[in-house]
Amino acid sequence: MKKSRRSFLKAAGVTALGIGAAPAIKAVASSGSVAAPVKTKKAEALNAKRWGMVIDTNKLTDEVAENIVHACKKAHNVPDFDHEPDAEKYPDTQPVNKTQEIKWIWEEHFEHAFPDKEDEFLAEKFRHLPFLVTCNHCKNAPCVQACPTQATFKREDGIVLMDFHRCIGCRFCMAACPFGSRSFNFRDPRPFIEEINPDFPTRSKGVVEKCNLCAERLAKGQQPACAEVSEGAITVGDLEDPASKVRELLAENYAIRRKQELGTEPSVYYIM
């Protein structure tokens, strides 16, 4: 009895191993028999070693800033909680909680954009200037380090990107970000999108989102939406290329970064 059970278990083990190995053997056997498909970037795609952004605060008026925020929202289907949902299309939409809003790029005053540089004798003009804040696409991004599924990751070209398909909504990245650049979809955003842009997906509830430096536009050879409407206030380019426009601007002007002392190496510069 004991012996037969043992031999049965052995046989069962070998069989299980065989079943497990079959797909692997099949995969090895089939590879090479057909030409593999090729995946490439588009020819017109814009490339960089490390994308960065320079914001010229002298050129940023309230009107321009507003246009930028609006263009970004439109390009990425960012919901606006002030938008009254269409009662026919989205019946029974529950009232919004404004503290749960989504922001990719938005206006702040100096003392909030740079809380560590708060100064009672700050030049008066800086107190009233709009400062646009967004994801800094840090070189050492704490959000990338925190994400337990690599849903937030750093692309080779320096863009810190979100894979909305993979995000489990743990919000560890939001705690990790020293710039408050991340938003969580506490609810389905669609009722609050004024006009859905077919060129970019919306998000589902339960995932985190943030600025993607218009990766989808760069892939098509276009400048990011914010830069396009900024009337020269925002320049996006390759920080590693000494001949690039961003490097030229940084060489000629005094520029600061947010919370530089934390060592996350933000890629967004502000010309003062």
Binding site: V34, A35, A36, P37, V38, K39, T40, K41, K42, A45, K89, F153, R155, E156, D157, L161, D163, F164, H165, D188, I196, P198, D199, F200, P201, T202, R203, S204, A215, A219
Partner: protein, 131 residues
């Protein structure tokens, strides 16, 4: 005493286990055929051949989304020589660019097979936007 209880329990268990069959009694119908749009018919070739596509389109889409989002590759040159934009719904060379009618192409089988892919929670169809 316990024999009866066991038998009764077994009957209940079997009845419960077969619930999907009871539920579908009389409601069975032939598998639907997805309807090809004129454009798709004219194109003749899809990314993979018909049967491969039928069986594996979900793995292909899974692979595509990783390539686009994570590797920044957007074009896919298939083994049949045609090039596609690796996108579900944006642009002429995307899936929906050719298979223009989601309801007749995607939903038909998905509904029949009771699968509810969450693609459409985020990805949009032109038709839906214009509604």
């Amino acid at each position: 005493m316990s024999k009866n209880a066991i038998m009764a329990g077994l009957v209940v268990f079997v009845a419960m286990a077969l619930l999907p069959f009871w539920y579908n009694i009389g409601g069975s119908s032939a598998a639907p055929e997805p309807e090809l749009s004129e454009k798709a018919k004219a194109a003749q070739k899809c990314v993979l051949d018909k049967y491969d596509m039928r069986a594996n389109h979900m793995s292909l889409l899974d692979e595509w989304r990783d390539s686009v989002v994570r590797d920044a590759d957007r074009l896919y040159e298939s083994t049949n020589g045609k090039t596609f934009q690796m996108s579900l719904s944006t642009g002429e060379e995307s899936c929906l660019g050719c298979h223009t009618d989601k309801e007749k192409f995607c939903d038909k089988c998905h509904t029949y097979a009771s699968v509810d892919p969450y693609c459409w929670e985020c990805h949009t169809t032109p038709k839906e936007i214009n509604q």
